[in-house]
């Protein structure tokens, strides 16, 4: 049986969208699953919108690009406007309500609104918004255990982020238990 799941993660450049995707993809690989990760790459280096797509499956993966995702992680308003209409009918969207006007959230869709930036600020830095949101995604999808993702941080975090691992572990936990 196929254990398929895909997610588009989107936000401002600098919100750690690509790191969030990498953490998830590495964790899926460690669990012995097939996985693809593809970023949007282009002319904008800073300040634009960033998004990446992660596909997880127990079988070989065809397209690493997804048009109607089964799930999304939306860190800012422009990302909601872009990806909410494309969300699959039974899909789930994790929305950072700190930066998104929740009046725009389509009530017909399965949405998890979480003030990820505010929670991250309380934990010490808004830079952990991504991990709070990823925690909420893990809870909503149940695809991978929280502990597995927390463990993978030690493996994928660049050397100069090592001292922040504990804080990120807490951010994942906060996002997971908030929803």
């Amino acid at each position: 049986m196929s254990a398929y799941m895909d997610v588009i993660m989107a936000g401002f450049g600098g919100q750690g969208v690509l790191l969030m995707g990498n953490v998830l993809a590495n964790c899926a690989m460690e669990r012995g699953l097939e996985v693809t990760y593809i970023p949007v790459y282009g002319a904008e280096m800073r300040g634009g919108t960033a998004n990446c797509t992660v596909v997880i499956d127990s079988e070989p993966i065809g397209s690493p690009i997804v048009h109607s995702p089964r799930s999304t992680v939306i860190l800012n308003q422009p990302s909601l406007e872009k990806f909410q209409p494309r969300l699959a009918k039974d899909g789930v969207q994790i929305i950072n309500s700190s930066l998104v006007d929740i009046a725009l959230v389509d009530t017909k869709r399965h949405s998890v609104c979480i003030p990820a930036t505010d929670i991250a600020r309380e934990l010490g830095t808004v830079k952990m918004t991504n991990m709070v949101a990823l925690g909420a995604w893990l809870k909503a999808t149940g695809i991978l255990p929280l502990k597995a993702v927390q463990d993978i941080l030690h493996k994928v975090a660049p050397q100069h982020y090592r001292k922040l691992i504990l804080a990120n572990v807490r951010a994942l936990e906060a996002g997971y238990s908030h929803s």
């Binding site: 990498n22 993809a25 590495n26 690989m29 097939e34 996985v35 693809t36 990760y37 593809i38 970023p39 790459y41 282009g42 079988e59 070989p60 993966i61 065809g62 397209s63 690493p64 690009i65 997804v66 048009h67």
Partner: protein, 367 residues
């Protein structure tokens, strides 16, 4: 080896670099262009660590000519670029073919014509397979579909280049290059060691003329002005190109009892693979034929699938109809061949290929 090494999550572009280094590549020359920039970036740190040489050239013209120079010394060397950059390299690829110099050229295709876009595309099939350069020459063209194949195929690329003293192009696209996937960086079985690769150049490589040891200096040239010289040279090239055909290769999935065989390569083939698997699960007799060498095209294997006109073929490619010509040449009118093209910049997923495959299965449009 007691235990398989860990899988690492890397882009196809990085897998190209790791495969090349493990295969014995010692020189890289390149010029930045999206979507293959991770290749020069990775080489710039990894090659010098291994005692090799990395040069960021002033243009693709310069890069491929540096490749010609390094390759003339029998050193495993490569360059990489994308579509329009490869077009700039074609003259020298022709020189390399003419003067029988081995080298590897990686093309991570983007949309065209002209500057096009930076998205995935298969619009360089003709440029790669039919020889974008001048003169009557042929190059190997290998088509990886996964990051793992990016790693593995670099071994084949260097082995073929040295075995046949000929340029080899590895043809990926923006999906293959930009996508991260788990890769096991282990040399494939039967892969040559870097030393074995280098040994193959002993008879022809430039290393300085020792007049006491050999009668003549070595000259690698493609200019043959004397009467009959070029004819003789091209005759020997023709024999070589005929011998190259034995290297044709393809992957076949569910083809044995298929009523419809989808023919696709590279990233489109992996998406078609998903579509075909889903349709099989729904009881449809469809299969996939994926050439892993585009030149030589695996025409004999494809022809072997024709059975008394009962089988249909559908070519799916992300361009306006290029590989379909080779498929039709191979099938030679013995079975129906239809074509489904995908434009650049348009989303393609397994679900979008379902309808065209079912339509072809039912003998629908025959383009």
């Amino acid at each position: 080896m007691s235990q398989a090494p860990e899988r690492i999550l890397i882009k196809g572009n990085e897998a190209i670099v790791r495969g090349a280094l493990d295969a014995g590549c010692r020189c890289y020359f390149g010029y930045p262009i999206t979507p293959q920039n991770e290749i020069p970036e990775a080489f710039s740190s990894m090659l010098p660590e291994q005692g090799g040489s990395f040069v960021q050239a002033e243009s693709e013209l310069a890069a491929v000519n540096m490749l010609l120079g390094a390759a003339a010394c029998g050193i495993p060397a490569m360059t990489s670029s994308s579509s329009c950059g490869i077009a700039l390299m074609q003259e020298t690829i022709s020189y390399m073919a003419g003067s029988c110099v081995p080298g590897v050229i990686v093309n991570m295709m983007r949309g065209g014509p002209g500057l096009g876009d930076i998205g995935p595309s298969q619009s360089d099939y003709f440029q790669a397979v039919k020889g974008g350069g001048n003169g009557d020459h042929r190059n190997f063209v290998l088509a990886p579909a996964t990051a793992q194949e990016c790693y593995d195929m670099m071994f084949s690329a260097f082995a073929l280049a040295f075995k046949y003293r000929n340029p080899v192009m590895v043809l990926g696209d923006a999906i293959v290059g930009q996508m991260k996937e788990p890769v096991r960086c282990v040399p494939p079985k039967h892969a040559l060691t870097p030393e074995q690769l280098m040994q193959q150049g002993e008879d022809w490589r430039l290393e300085g003329y020792d007049r006491h040891a050999v009668p003549e200096p070595r000259v690698l040239r493609s200019l043959l002005l004397k009467e009959g010289q070029l004819a003789a040279h091209n005759r020997s090239l023709h024999e070589k190109y005929s011998a190259m055909r034995q290297e044709a290769a393809a992957e076949q999935v569910f083809c044995d009892d298929a009523s419809l065989v989808v023919v696709a390569f590279g990233s489109i083939a992996r998406i078609a693979h998903s579509a075909v698997r889903h349709l099989r699960q729904a009881g449809h007799k469809v299969g996939l034929f994926r050439p892993t060498t585009l030149y030589p095209f695996p025409e004999e294997a494809l022809r072997a699938l024709i059975s008394s006109g009962k089988r249909r073929f559908l070519v799916i490619e992300q361009n306006l109809g290029q590989m379909v010509e080779d498929v039709r040449l191979a099938i030679d009118g013995q079975a129906p061949v239809s074509w489904h093209g995908i434009l650049p910049d348009l989303y393609v997923g397994a679900e979008t290929l379902r309808a065209p495959i079912l339509e072809a299965l039912e003998g629908g449009k025959h383009v």
